[in-house]
């Protein structure tokens, strides 16, 4: 029974010693304090070691248990020391950081970055959509011949459809076969230029500046941008036209956009169509933007007229194609809610900077 009287004695003492050490530790605030504490409790002649010296009086079989217990206490105290020191370092560091305090509400350093013109941004977005559908981008001249702007597009001289375009003519001698020099009224001449050079299949989009001899107002500019599209192969049909333009409209205006095709007329297509999308502002319920109709007209299109194909030596019995043309400003205006087309060429930095 000797075990029962002497053995509990050392654990109890260990426990008391641990509590004492912990209490002392919490009072330590400087490196010197910690060193002293370590010597006092954990040192070679520290209190824990001293206590263990009394181990000799224990029965041999008790010794390992008590020894283990003492080691655990030592480890705990060492960990406590480390934690306490770390805490103290953190506190000191926190003080130092406080001295570095900033007013985070002050404005950030401006990053010097300009921005693309909104027309370029919308143009790139639109071209990107068609490029992903396998169309590739082609450009053509802004100054054109009558032949390309009109005649080869099934709009012969004096055709009443010519009234659809108010044309600027260049003061230059007309050239036989090519006719008068003019500022292109649409990007459609690029269609003809491409087909003249390339056998089918063809899948292009042609962006560019076009000109109309018109008075300028909130919805008309004498100079604006169009994108022409053309696809010709041995099986293109109106369903494909609908598919490509529906996919386009949904990518540009959102996946729920409804697309409507109604019959229309452009001399270089037959059948011809106009495309409207459900108003993205009111979801088709009617609002100021869509003039209460729920629909916004965005482009004209159709199946390439056989006369146009014939004019570039494509056999209209074998090949068919679709073409479309859209006004970039119109789309940009719809997209950003811009109510006056003249902003685009005013180049007011306060307007342009909104499109960062």
């Amino acid at each position: 029974m000797a075990d029962e009287t002497t053995a509990p004695d050392i654990p109890t003492q260990l426990e008391a010693l641990e509590r004492e050490a912990e209490a002392q530790l919490s009072a330590c605030a400087a490196d010197a304090d910690f060193n002293e504490w370590r010597t006092t409790y954990l040192g070679r002649s520290g209190k824990v070691t001293q206590l263990l010296r009394g181990l000799g009086g224990l029965p041999k079989e008790e010794r390992p248990r008590i020894g283990q217990l003492a080691n655990t206490v030592k480890q705990r105290l060492a960990a406590a020391l480390e934690a306490q020191q770390a805490q103290l370092r953190r506190n000191e560091h926190a003080e130092a950081l406080k001295a570095e305090a900033l007013d985070v509400t002050l404005p950030g350093e401006p990053v010097r970055a300009g921005q693309l013109h909104p027309i370029t941004q919308v143009l790139n977005e639109i071209l990107g959509i068609f490029e992903r559908m396998g169309f590739h981008v082609v450009e053509g001249p802004e100054v054109e011949w009558d032949r390309y702007n009109f005649a080869l597009l099934n709009i012969p001289a004096d055709h009443p459809a010519r009234d659809m375009w108010d044309t600027f003519y260049v003061d230059a001698e007309p050239v036989s076969n090519l006719g008068s020099m003019l500022l292109r009224t649409h990007t459609s001449p690029v269609q003809v230029r491409v087909m003249e050079e390339t056998p089918p299949p063809v899948r292009i989009v042609a962006p560019g500046r076009v000109y109309r001899n018109e008075a300028t107002d909130a919805s008309h500019e004498a100079i604006f941008y169009q994108i022409e599209g053309l696809a010709v192969d041995d099986r293109i049909n109106m369903g494909d036209l609908k598919g490509v333009l529906t996919a386009f409209a949904r990518q540009l205006f959102g996946g729920k956009t409804r697309v409507r095709f109604n019959c229309s007329y452009f001399p270089f297509v037959e059948p011809g169509a106009e495309v409207s999308i459900s108003c993205h502002v009111c979801s088709g319920n009617g609002c100021r933007v869509c003039k209460q109709t729920g629909w916004l007209e965005i482009l004209g299109c159709g199946i390439v007229h056989p006369n146009v194909l014939r004019a570039v030596n494509y056999d209209p019995e074998k090949y068919s194609g679709f073409a479309f043309g859209l006004g970039v400003e119109r789309i940009a205006m719809l997209k950003y809610g811009i109510d006056d087309i003249r902003y685009f060429y005013g180049n007011d930095i306060r307007f342009l900077e909104q499109f960062r």
Partner: protein, 821 residues
């Protein structure tokens, strides 16, 4: 074209709501721009009859009218109008009616309230056309047809819906009510009731002789004759319909010609037969020097070649455009010669353009009126004239149709429908779609031989028929697919790719993209030259700069028909437009205005289209803003940095900045940008500070900097993909080198010498300080560089680097008389 549904119902029953009908027409290619409800606001307004008129006891100008509107009570109303008589049917508005305020400038609808007029209480009004929104007439009361049903709410009797059609040039046939009715009939399946005409032939009438001298310009000329007519107003119902269509009633004869034109699309003209010499109509070209006073009272000089209607004494009408005043139908006219003709669209179009004289008739002729229509419309009009203006008629007084045209047949194959529409449509279905539109056909297996109805001059090939079938099937019913064909070969065009990349560089460098007008005028461009300085430059380098990017010496292309003189010329320079933009923006804020544009100039090439050279242009003002409003000055080096960035992005290895004195720029702060082109250096642009006099001319009141690069030339020199070089795994030896040398010596020379002496192991040389001042002798400056040495395959030792460094120093001493600092 304004289509009155009330009128339309004479030819086809309208079973749809106006909005639904408008939608269906629009989907089928007859765009309805607007649906106008006439009288939708009328209430408490009835058809009444004047039973008594008495003078107002207290006012000379007013009258008291008692009206019967079908109720027991017969109210007495005060009116200022004098065009009324007992028994007239008039619109009677009672209290609570909504009327347009005829005295307001804006069309404002007001409720009719009780009023006391000069002591007499008035509990209603008799209304003018204007008050009802039926026209502009407020002179008198609107007199209704004597047949108007007494007591009927006016809404039921006169209310109408107008469809305003926005017709494309191919569907000018719908400038005729019967053809609109045909469309409606085809869309809704309701039966079409076309007016039936007959000829009247009263014997022993005076002669009409028609002589077509220009059968190419006048395919057909049909004439009718009516004698003993009485000129007067046309009946109310006809006037109502003309008003609904937007035409002003004139007199019964003119109204009938207009009415039949609106009904069938055939313009008609009525001459006073007695003023047509010898009853002879000659269709010929005008002769040099001939004149004609047209119906609008204008005396017009005719150009030789314009088509006219003449009698033996001279022109009496501009064919298809406007009649002559002299042969006009007047109140005294008793004999009418009625013209129904078919004129060449181009001829009419040219005359209309030359005289700037558009009319309802010319519009129809320009878009084509089929010759077959002439006698039909003429007979219809003659019937009306006899019925309305009385008289004796010979419908068929003359008809000259020199070369009757054969209607072509067009083949429509079932296969074409599927091929072009992507939808299988049986040929029998196609036939069913075409029939109600007036097409006739014979079927052979899966093909139709189709003849278009006479009014459809726009249908001339199979594709046209495909559209007809498609629009009747409904575009909405065509499936939505994606192209299934082969993908074409396509190489991206370098100019566009590089344009995009250059834009990215400029945006990254803090510039806003501008898009300026490509149209300008010479004055605006010449501001780039100080006053009195010629655009012809004699020295080589400035001239090369001008030729590359500032060709002010080139004569630009001008427009024949500019809209304004400000924008009548195709620009040959871009810088002027951007300096205008800079000035414009500097007026609002003085800092941080940095613009660039990539756009063409137009350089004339004899007999060809102009060269569209694409230039990259950038401008900046004197200051930029950095953190918290810090105003930092932009210098030559700021914009040069942008230029270098572009050149590096293009992968152009051998470029140089060579001092140049060009009159647009500061003579000592400007460089020509040159690119090595084989052996030669080619000028591709210019960068520098704008000459102060030039800035001032553009209203830029601070230093401005500009860059212009020829993008086409840069693209030609570009290197698309930079070849990869493995980064060296060996450490670099970095040393500083500061030297003092003559301030005149360009820094570029130092770099060249250092590079030459440094050889392959000198990886880079970077300037880090430029100093000129008391620390160095007068006329000298100090340049300090960081030199980085590295070998790709080993670690350099100090001895190697020292050897190279000594060689560099020696070279600098010998070549540039530089001293180590």
């Amino acid at each position: 074209m304004r289509v009155s549904l009330r009128w339309l119902e004479e030819y086809v029953q309208v079973t749809l709501s106006a909005d639904e009908l408008a939608h269906q027409l629009t989907m089928a290619g007859i765009e309805v721009a607007q649906v106008i409800q006439v009288g939708d606001f009328w209430k408490n307004t009835f058809v009444g009859k004047i039973v008594d008129i008495k003078p107002h006891p207290n006012a000379d100008r007013l009258q008291l009218v008692t009206v019967d509107y079908g109720q027991e009570q017969q109210p007495t109303l005060v009116t200022g109008a004098s065009n009324i008589a007992k028994e007239d049917k008039v619109p009677v508005a009672l209290l609570g009616a909504m009327l347009i305020d005829a005295y307001s400038d804006t069309p404002e609808i007001k409720e009719l309230k009780p009023a006391v007029l000069r002591g007499i209480k008035s509990e209603g009004m008799v209304c003018s056309a204007k008050e009802l929104g039926l026209g502009d007439d407020h002179e008198g009361i609107l007199i209704l047809d004597p047949e108007a049903p007494l007591g009927e709410p006016l809404q039921n009797y006169l209310g109408d819906t107008i469809l305003e059609l926005d017709l494309k040039p191919n569907r000018s046939d719908c400038l005729a009510m019967v053809n609109v009715a045909r469309e409606v009939s085809a869309l809704t399946g309701e039966r079409l009731r076309q007016p039936v005409t007959r000829q009247i032939d009263t014997p022993s009438q005076p002669v009409v002789r028609v002589d077509i001298k220009e059968p190419k310009l006048c395919a057909r000329y049909a004439a009718g004759l009516v004698t003993e007519v009485t000129i007067g107003p046309s009946p109310r119902w006809m006037q109502d319909r003309l008003l609904a269509a937007g035409m002003r009633p004139i007199n019964n004869i003119v109204d009938i010609t207009n009415y039949v034109m609106l009904e069938f699309g055939q313009p008609l003209h009525a001459f006073d037969y007695d003023k047509v010499a010898e009853g002879r109509i000659i269709v010929r070209r005008a002769r040099y020097g001939e004149h004609l006073t047209t119906l609008d009272g204008e005396e017009r000089e005719l150009s030789a070649g314009m088509l006219v209607i003449a009698d033996p004494n001279g022109p009496i009408a501009l064919a298809g455009v406007m009649g002559g005043l002299e042969t006009e139908v007047t109140a005294d006219t008793t004999r009418i010669l009625l013209e129904a003709a078919s004129f060449n669209p181009t001829s009419i179009r040219r005359t209309r353009q030359a005289l700037a004289l558009p009319s309802e008739a010319s519009r129809r002729f320009e878009q084509g009126v089929p010759p077959e229509l002439a006698p039909i419309a003429r007979d219809r009009a003659i019937e009306f004239i006899v019925e309305i203006a009385g008289g004796r008629a010979r419908s068929h007084a003359a008809d000259s149709y020199v070369r009757p045209q054969q209607r072509p047949t067009i083949e429509l194959a079932e296969a074409d429908l599927a091929r072009l529409l992507g939808m299988e449509i049986p040929i029998t279905t196609a036939a069913e779609k075409l029939r109600p539109l007036g097409f006739s056909y014979r079927r052979q297996d899966s093909r139709l031989q189709v003849t278009a109805p006479l009014h459809r001059l726009d249908v001339s090939c199979a594709a046209d028929l495909v559209e007809e079938v498609a629009r009747m099937v409904g575009y909405d019913n065509i499936p939505t697919t994606l192209p299934s064909g082969p993908l074409p070969d396509a190489a991206p065009t370098p100019l566009r790719t590089w344009t995009d990349r250059a834009k990215q560089v400029m945006v990254g460098a803090g510039f806003a993209e501008a898009i300026t007008y490509t149209l300008t005028n010479t004055t605006r461009m010449e501001r780039l030259l100080p006053k009195g300085i010629s655009a012809e430059l004699t020295e080589d380098l400035p001239r090369e700069v001008a030729e590359a990017v500032l060709p002010l010496h080139a004569e630009p292309l001008h427009l024949k028909n500019p809209f304004t003189s400000e924008a009548g010329t195709l620009r040959t320079v871009t810088l002027a437009g951007l300096l205008e933009t800079l000035a414009h923006n500097l007026r609002r804020r003085t800092d941080d205005v940095h613009f660039f544009e990539i756009a063409p100039v137009f350089l004339p090439v004899r007999g060809k289209l102009p060269e569209e050279r694409r230039l990259l242009t950038a401008v900046m003002g004197q200051f930029r803003t950095e953190q918290w409003g810090a105003r930092v000055e932009n210098s030559f080096f700021t914009i040069k940095g942008a230029a270098e960035q572009v050149l590096q992005r293009f992968g152009i290895a051998g470029y140089d900045f060579v001092p140049v004195a060009h009159p647009t720029f500061h003579p000592y702060r400007t460089a020509a940008v040159t690119v090595r082109h084989g052996e030669a250096e080619r000028v591709v642009g210019v960068v520098g500070e704008i000459n102060a006099e030039v800035s001032a001319a553009f209203d830029v009141d601070q230093r401005a900097l500009a860059l212009v690069l020829d993008l086409n030339e840069l693209v030609a020199q570009s290197r698309a993909i930079q070849q990869f070089t493995a980064p060296s795994r060996h450490p670099a030896v970095v040393q500083d080198l500061a030297i003092v040398l003559d301030a005149e010596i360009p820094a570029e020379r130092v770099v060249e010498e250092v590079r030459a002496a440094g050889g392959a192991l000198l990886e880079s040389i970077d300037l880090f300080d430029v100093y000129q001042g008391p620390q160095v002798p007068e006329g000298k400056r100090s340049l300090a560089y960081t030199l980085t040495f590295r070998a790709p395959d080993r670690t350099l030792n100090d001895a190697e680097v020292t050897t190279i460094r000594d060689r560099i120093i020696f070279k600098l001493q010998v070549s540039l008389n530089a001293e180590l600092r």
